[in-house]
């Protein structure tokens, strides 16, 4: 893509055009597992953003010194370190959230999104664009998780971020906060995303490209 590598461009591309969840279909495991409520999705998104930004910062800083053959192992070590730090921080300062997210905080380390950014971008660019790219991807990921979490929480529990929306007489659509609901809702959101991208492409030329839904 002949795009100028400006920090703001890097930041924005992660939000829509190359959204990690809806376009690249990465990081599915946490995207479905912890989005049974909006606040869980937000927490997971922020934790992941922390890890990807710090990792990109470090990887991009040391990229000239890391031999090619051991780069993946080094990236994994770096990522795992930051995930451990994030995990401890959550346990110490937000134990209730940590209990909700469970093992999925540790599983951030195998979120293909993070390793993917290191390999595809941070290892080839200087610090500022790398961090902007990471921040954009993290923001896009968080946005996607909050969207999915909100929909599932509103339908499945009748609340949003814990605030009851429909009052006590609401009959919640419980399947939404169960695994099948996660899969189905993600399918619906993917479909919506593809429809919108398709419509924009037809209407506005190549302004918002994105991948063909096929």
């Amino acid at each position: 893509m002949p795009d100028p590598i400006t920090p703001s461009a890097e930041l924005l591309k992660g939000l829509w055009r190359e959204n990690p969840v809806f376009v690249q279909v990465l990081g599915m495991c946490p995207a479905l597992a912890v989005t049974n409520s909006a606040v869980n999705g937000l927490a997971m998104g922020l934790a992941t953003t922390f890890v990807v930004v710090m990792s990109s910062l470090l990887v991009s800083s040391v990229r000239r010194w890391v031999p090619k053959q051991v780069r993946i192992s080094t990236y994994i070590l770096i990522i795992a370190t930051f995930v451990t730090v994030a995990d401890f921080a959550l346990q110490a300062w937000t134990p209730a959230l940590h209990r909700e997210l469970g093992a999925f905080v540790a599983l951030i380390v195998v979120n293909c999104l993070i390793l993917g950014r290191q390999e595809a971008f941070a290892s080839r660019h200087s610090v500022v664009p790398a961090v902007a790219d990471a921040a954009g991807m993290g923001a896009g990921f968080t946005l996607a998780l909050v969207m999915l979490g909100s929909v599932r929480e509103v339908l499945g529990m009748g609340s949003w971020f814990g605030l009851s929306l429909f009052g006590p007489r609401f009959e919640p659509w419980v399947v939404m906060i169960l695994p099948p609901g996660g899969f189905l809702m993600m399918g619906v959101l993917l479909l919506l995303f593809a429809c919108v991208a398709d419509a924009r492409r037809r209407a506005g030329g190549r302004l918002y490209g994105g991948r063909e839904a096929a």
Binding site: A33, I72, T84, A106
Partner: protein, 194 residues
């Protein structure tokens, strides 16, 4: 004891299927080509890696990590990455056709959350050596089962009339949702009475 092992195995295979109930291993699940045979072989490769990981995790936990539990994540991920490297080298020498067939999916087993989750769950549930191996077998089997079912269903629907926007990823998610719903029927298999 054997009743408990059976419960662990069937629990991981069906009741709390790693993919359809715990949302693990979704990258290969959605990425795998709609070829039944490839899906099956990938599943088996995962089972193999899981067994070795389970063994290594148990060993690490018992002998090393009691002194430094905070190093658990780092050591587990290093073990997994090394195991996958080892399996890659092994397959390249011993079964080059299979190695080529699996292609990019082999190194991606490292980032398969199911493997790491297996090690973490095994530790947090306090499984011993045998229980851990049985758990790995059940979890890997469940993963394979989900992969095979998904590949089979996608093969079937390839020739169906599906709107172009729905084709591909969105449809896979709907299929997964229905599969997950079906597997929910296994809940309560072992609780029984008394």
């Amino acid at each position: 004891m054997s009743g408990e092992l059976l419960a662990i195995f069937v629990g991981a295979l069906l009741i709390n299927n790693f993919t359809l109930a715990y949302f693990l291993g979704l990258c290969p699940f959605f990425g795998v080509s709609a070829r039944l045979t490839t899906a099956f072989r990938l599943g088996l490769a995962n089972v193999f890696v899981m067994l070795i990981t389970s063994l290594a995790a148990w060993g690490l936990e018992t002998f090393v990590l009691v002194h430094a539990p905070y190093l658990r994540l780092i050591t587990y991920i290093v073990v997994i990455a090394s195991t996958v490297q080892f399996v890659e080298m092994l397959l390249k020498k011993a079964a080059p056709a299979l190695f080529r067939a699996l292609g990019i999916f082999l190194p991606l087993i490292t980032t398969n959350c199911a493997i790491l989750a297996l090690a973490l769950f095994q530790t947090s549930r306090g499984y011993g050596l045998l229980q851990g191996l049985v758990f790995a077998l059940g979890a890997g089997g469940g993963l394979t089962l989900a992969l095979v079912l998904m590949a089979g269903l996608r093969e079937e629907t390839e020739l169906s009339e599906v709107p172009s926007l729905l084709r591909g990823t969105a449809m896979s998610f709907f299929i997964a949702g229905v599969l997950s719903l079906a597997f929910m029927g296994f809940a309560g298999l072992f609780s029984g009475s008394g």
